[in-house]
């Protein structure tokens, strides 16, 4: 890739949830039906770690047993315990522990007791960092932040906490307030492709007719290349018609998220985060 900066790879666990009708989960691993050629492929914790070892990212993720947040019943408990058994297999299979940081992923659905068991188990393995998984799947916000709060309280203070699949700016701010450090989400670029720009006031729908005569930049406080050069009106004419429209709005949205991160970071350092 010729990418000189930090890199993180995921384990493939999320695909279990997003492609569930194609997956069969057993103790051995996950059998997918390959969307490319229809052939069955088995992904074990060992396979996942081996592939991630080859890719060579700075942070790699354990293969966890992920269930939808809306799932209830014994499946949630089964997934949590299996995640703990799989973390040991991941640790054993990890061939580059001094170059790549293996993060464990806390599961347990929305059940505080299950989450506690998982937290305890993962913390005992003394991993370089921890992710809070199994969220951002349609649960209510109240349930969501409670789980995040519980997890950040139960994870070591001196290790990174990564909330997976979070990308709405508001969610990032709330999770940061609760003690999380890292996030990933397709939201900024996906929403860009649908013609929405992330701005300080919220979400700007560029497809709206009012944008056709709005000659301001996307965000007056943004210093990115797109905001320096182009108006909302011009972007309005591009967004659903040219690939370049998606490219430019994606560029701005990513800039926006990076600025958000910088603001969170500096406001904490300067002791003015609550404001």
């Amino acid at each position: 890739m010729n990418w000189p900066r930090a890199l993180l790879t995921d384990s493939g666990g999320f695909q279990m949830v997003s492609l569930l009708h194609l997956a069969d989960i057993t103790e051995e691993g996950v059998t997918f039906q390959s969307p490319v050629d229809g052939k069955p492929m088995l992904l074990t914790p060992e396979d996942s770690i081996q592939i991630q070892n080859k890719i060579g990212a700075d942070i790699i993720m354990a293969l966890d047993d992920v269930v939808k947040t809306t799932t209830t019943g014994p499946r949630v408990e089964e997934a949590m315990y299996r995640t703990l058994r799989w973390i040991d297999r991941c640790i054993a299979a990890h061939s580059r522990p001094h170059e790549q940081n293996l993060f464990g992923i806390v599961q347990g659905g929305l059940d505080p007791q299950l989450r506690d068991i998982c937290l305890e188990g993962l913390v005992a393995r003394n991993l370089p960092g921890y992710a809070i998984g199994g969220l951002a799947g349609g649960e209510g916000k109240d349930a969501f932040w409670r789980v995040v709060a519980q997890c950040t309280a139960g994870l070591p203070e001196d290790k990174p906490r990564y909330v997976m699949g979070i990308g709405f700016p508001l969610d990032i701010v709330v999770c940061t307030a609760l003690g999380a450090d890292m996030y990933d989400c397709v939201y900024p670029t996906r929403t860009a492709r649908f013609g929405s720009a992330l701005v300080s006031e919220g979400v700007l729908r560029l497809t709206h007719a009012a944008m056709a005569t709005d000659y301001r930049p996307l965000d007056s406080s943004c210093t990115c290349m797109v905001c320096k050069r182009y108006t909302r009106a011009y972007l309005h004419t591009l967004v659903t018609k040219e690939a370049m429209g998606s490219q430019l709005v994606s560029y701005h949205n990513i800039s926006h998220m990076m600025q958000l991160s910088r603001n969170l970071h500096s406001s904490i350092l300067e002791g003015r985060f609550p404001e």
Binding site: N2, A233, Y234, A243, M244
Partner: protein, 414 residues
């Protein structure tokens, strides 16, 4: 605007073009394609540094006919400011090279038929010039009544008459303060007499140059050569000549050989769309090695040198499976893509359906084509254009490359 012929080789010539904005460049020159003012996939902030010659673009006024874009470009103060491409030459060409083919449909006295964002419609003179004036291009072509060579004689004659009348009308509607920026269109399609007549009429008008139209529409290559010759023979030597509709390497060489100075070409983009990288050799001093001649060139062959083939198919399974080709698209190429990435990486991007692949390919293909134009200019300056053209076309034939007589239809590679 100033245009001066600096060197000749046969009918081919190198010129220097200095625009009113102060921007100067050498011709023959490639105009890069834009849509609604911006490149199709190349990030606009990368355009300036893409290549020393990546300074000139074409755009289609027909994209700017309707609101809201019509109002937006007027309010912005022209297409340079709109697209943030000050420092570039923006040339307005009526024909949309990425769009539909010209069918020679009926035109009225008031305008010709064009594809716009609201479908096919007649575009009249007032409207056309309103858009041209709002866009403030560095050069613009007059409204053409362009027809393919197979139309009946009567329609062809009519197209010559229309085009000439519309040239006068356009000139009367141009903004005086912009000075002379008009490229008068020359048509004539299937008849050499009509072609000559069209050129004669345009030649007497007070224009900055000429735009030869009606090519790239399935005409016979030899016929095209005659048409170019006949038209150019009637045009003043010291004015710019543009041709639209021609863009493949062979077409460029034919046009330059006849005396053309400016071409807008979709050739790089056509290759990108088909997941091909442009790799043809540019220097005739480097002989084809015997080993290369013996090699069976197939599109799947990922050879390290890049010299042996005109195009490399980046979708080939050869990269992922057996051989891992960690060489750049063209060894020694100084473009952004070749300095950073390998064939196998681009293959991986294509197989993952990542749009980055198109961006990287388009950057390379555009760079390579600009290098091609530079090689053409160098050969003219050395008075070796004919040799260069002969060498180029023969090595393409030797490699079994299908000569793109006309630019193929766009084929999606997904």
């Amino acid at each position: 605007m100033e245009f001066t012929v600096r060197a000749c080789s046969g009918h081919g010539r190198v010129g220097s073009l200095r625009l009113a904005s102060g921007l100067e460049f050498e011709t023959p020159s490639l105009l890069m394609i834009t849509r609604r003012g911006l490149p199709v996939v190349i990030p606009p902030e990368m355009l300036m540094d893409l290549h020393p010659d990546s300074r000139a673009c074409q755009f289609t006024p027909m994209h700017f006919l309707e609101d809201p874009l019509a109002a937006v470009v007027a309010k912005a103060g022209g297409v340079h400011k709109l697209a943030s491409l000050t420092g570039f030459a923006m040339v307005a060409v009526a024909r949309d090279s990425l769009g539909n083919e010209i069918a020679g449909e009926e035109a009225s006295n008031l305008g010709a038929s064009f594809e716009t964002s609201s479908g096919r419609r007649i575009v009249g003179l007032e409207k056309y010039m309103e858009v041209v004036n709002a866009c403030k291009p560095d050069l613009w072509v007059s409204l053409p009544d362009e027809v393919p060579h197979w139309v009946p004689e009567k329609r062809n004659r009519e197209s010559v008459d229309h085009t000439s009348q519309w040239l006068d009308h356009c000139l009367s509607l141009q903004h005086a303060e912009h000075g002379n920026r008009c490229l008068g269109v020359v048509v004539g399609a299937g008849s050499l007499e009509e072609r000559a007549r069209s050129a004669e009429q345009a030649a007497t008008r007070n224009v900055a140059g000429f735009s030869l139209a009606g090519f790239g529409l399935g005409e016979d290559v030899a016929q095209r050569g005659f048409h170019l010759e006949v038209a150019i023979a009637k045009l003043p030597n010291d004015k710019l000549r543009h041709v639209c509709g021609l863009g493949s390497p062979e077409e460029v060489l034919q046009a330059v050989g006849a005396g053309i100075d400016l071409l807008d070409s979709t050739y790089p983009y056509m290759l990108t769309k088909e997941c091909l990288a442009m790799t043809f050799p540019l220097k005739m001093e480097v002989p084809l090695r015997n080993a290369d001649r013996d090699m069976q060139p197939t599109p799947d062959h990922g050879v390290a040198s890049g010299f042996s083939l005109a195009k490399v198919n980046l979708r080939s399974a050869t990269y992922g499976g057996g051989r891992i080709d960690e060489t750049p698209l063209v060894t020694g190429c100084k473009c952004y893509t070749c300095k950073r990435h390998t064939k196998v990486y681009i293959n991986q991007l294509l197989n993952s359906n990542e749009t980055l692949a198109q961006t990287l390919l388009e950057i390379h293909n555009t760079y390579h084509y600009l290098e091609f134009f530079k090689a053409i200019r160098e050969s003219i300056k050395a008075d070796k254009f004919h040799e260069f053209r002969t060498w180029f076309t023969s090595q393409r034939q030797e490699l079994g490359v299908l000569s793109l007589g006309n630019i193929p239809r766009v084929v999606s590679c997904n």
